[in-house]
Symmetry: C2
Subunit: 405 residues, 2 copies
């Protein structure tokens, strides 16, 4: 056989098409909420597939599924491949799913070629990554990584008041596995953004996840009649909104390609056509891969506060730097396979963020059409799926220590 | 007796205090919606007061009350004094009410001093000026002036679906009076704005009502993820909002003291903290006393429209110039009585706007505390009420042709 070891594109695509029928919503959408009946169906199928590939399957209290095939060295912890099979209520067919099914494909390729890595290979389906049914998102991986206690996860409820622990048990995935050592964790995911497509690249070598800080801003004025109050006698918060927006976007544009600022919510109060607003409430979302740079951005934002403007930080998520050796395995595999690629920082959260706190971690991005995700229009080509799975395969083997060619 | 003829301040204030008890809401507020039981109580009292001063009282189909005392010349139409006794749901004690009760005070002063103008004097209570219960505002005066047909008014319904005609009849004010000639119409009103107070003036000589134009604006972008989309690849409508606000306020500040611009509603869509908005909807209210200047302001606003910005005018109200002779009667009375005064253009609509289309019309403003109106905190002093009523008295006599001193 010529060329490097490769997964089977058609087989991977068939598995993606099978998944796309379970919880199908509309022509191309999926609604497969965490721990729903649809989630149970895809989980049962995934377990059966993994078992047919020689895996032992265990679950933990959060319903995370660990499907492990032994390696040649019984003393080594597994190299894990994971992502999630749940979706947004109006989600697409690839977000999360590609990462889990590519794990099956990697395992099946190794089996077909009789390649036996030193480390066990473990495929993981993390519970409730999306956070659409139970809040917060990335709940299962958070329990595994010790970010959340099992009790905390158990007590989460959905909108109907159904508890997380009861729903895990209801669909048959309440297990007694406890957190175990992981040699390395690799997650293949669609980019969910437009960068790779815009630059015509095939692979994103994800070096980490950016930091996020959320702020509530209120601009304060005095309500008055739009017809009877001369401009000079108004305390109108609207012109101040323009100044604030300018400053927020200056912050977001201060480090092109890395810094981000977003004003997602803007509401004038009381919201009457012929009344000068008494207040304007807005939100600011600041992101940067580097926490020190994010500190600077936050300081610049907070310096805009004054007697007519309050700014309060309501949430922060620190940036994550992935493991250098694991990232190197991804980058060298992309290179070896001849894919155009770039280092990229993930803008969105992933299970890998939590796993990175307990194991060497890296991620692989493939482009998705127009960067669209969390949407039935989410789209990738079979070739893009294949490319990502091949980089995953070779990164695992590279990390395993060069046991395969 | 020394000094010019004067109304009785205490008597006027007692009438205002009596009114403040009918529909009292909180310590200083009034809730006396048009055609409510409270409106009936104040109307019954007003009619009784007018009749005791020798007036004949009639109603029209819209429930407008016309209380007329004959003049010395039976061929002359009446000089009318009017405003409204209804209030906002959370209104104050003077808006509208001062103008009607000052009419009673003018009549009582003339009676007490045995002064008989040539013209009949007619005090008018217009129905549903506020528009809080039945839309549109200034409905009764609009019917009198032929702006609205009686059928149109009759068919208006409140939030509970009760018809205007049924409610007029229910409180006993459905009459058969038809529109009649009016020699001149004078309306005393609180300013509802801060100008007179800010300039330390006692009287506003209202020369007209400014024009108003309302616009709906939509800034169009593309929704995308706040974390995964670099600034340079976004189509974000928020920076465009800042530019639009700057331009709108430049228009509003273009003719200081006359031009006005207000952005009362601003809403980012879909309104999610970590999503770049796909659209921002806002309203613009432009006002100017001169229609040509308002045309220019509108042109400047419309020139901001483009592929990412739609601007649609949804309503306009042309400026009104009050009658020069009637305005002169107000101005010369303020001067004769020694009040500090200035010409002023009303920023808000009043019944006088409608009446001006069928009779020579003028208005008198007195300051109100901090310009606050449509609010329980609405406040004037007994002296301010007295000043306004005295200017009203002398303006009526001046217009009548100098039959009194």
């Amino acid at each position: 056989m010529t060329g490097p070891l490769s997964i089977d594109r058609d087989r991977l695509w068939r598995r993606l098409e099978h998944s796309a029928r379970i919880g199908k919503a509309g022509e191309t959408g999926l609604c497969r909420l965490a721990l729903s009946d649809e989630d149970r169906v895809i989980r049962d199928w995934f377990v059966e597939q993994a078992q047919s590939l020689g895996c032992q399957v265990r679950y933990d209290s959060a319903g995370n599924i660990f499907a492990r095939r032994p390696g040649t060295d019984p003393d080594l912890p597994p190299i894990a491949i994971g992502s999630h099979l749940d979706t947004q209520p109006s989600g697409g067919r690839y977000d999360g799913i590609l990462g889990v099914l590519a794990g099956l494909e990697v395992l099946q390729t190794l089996t077909a070629r009789a390649i036996s890595p030193r480390h066990p290979i473990e495929i993981i389906d993390w519970t409730n990554e999306e956070g659409s049914r139970f809040s917060p998102a990335m709940l299962g991986s958070g329990v595994f990584a010790g970010i959340f206690t099992p009790d905390y996860a158990d007590s989460r409820t959905d909108k109907q008041g159904r508890r997380f622990d009861a729903e895990v048990a209801r669909i048959g995935y309440r297990g007694d596995a406890t957190p175990h050592p992981v040699a390395a964790y690799f997650e293949l995911h669609i980019e969910q953004g437009p960068v790779l497509e815009a630059e015509g690249l095939e692979i994103g070598v994800v070096t980490g996840v950016q930091g996020i800080r959320w702020f509530d801003v209120e601009l304060i004025g005095d309500c008055c009649h739009a017809g009877t109050t001369p401009m000079a006698l108004r305390r109108d918060p609207v012109p101040a909104l323009a100044r604030l927006i300018d400053a927020v976007y200056e912050i977001g544009n201060s480090d092109p390609g890395r810094s981000l600022s977003t004003v997602g919510i803007i509401e004038a109060q009381p919201g009457s056509r012929n009344t000068v607003p008494g207040a304007i409430r807005l939100t600011v979302d600041l992101r940067h891969p580097d926490d020190t740079a994010l500190d600077d951005m936050e300081q610049r934002l907070l310096s805009l506060a004054g007697s007519d403007c309050t700014i309060a930080r309501i949430w922060r998520s620190a940036p994550v730097q992935f493991d250098q050796r694991a990232v190197r395995s991804v980058r060298s595999s992309a290179k070896k396979l001849g894919f155009s690629h770039r280092d990229i920082v993930s803008g969105a959260g992933h299970d890998a963020v939590h796993v990175a706190s307990v194991a060497p971690t890296a991620m692989i991005f493939v482009p998705c059409e127009n960067g669209i995700s969390h949407n039935p229009r989410e789209s990738i080509t079979p070739e893009q799926a294949e490319n990502g799975a091949n980089v995953l395969l070779h990164a695992v083997l590279d990390y395993d220590g060069g046991t395969a060619r």
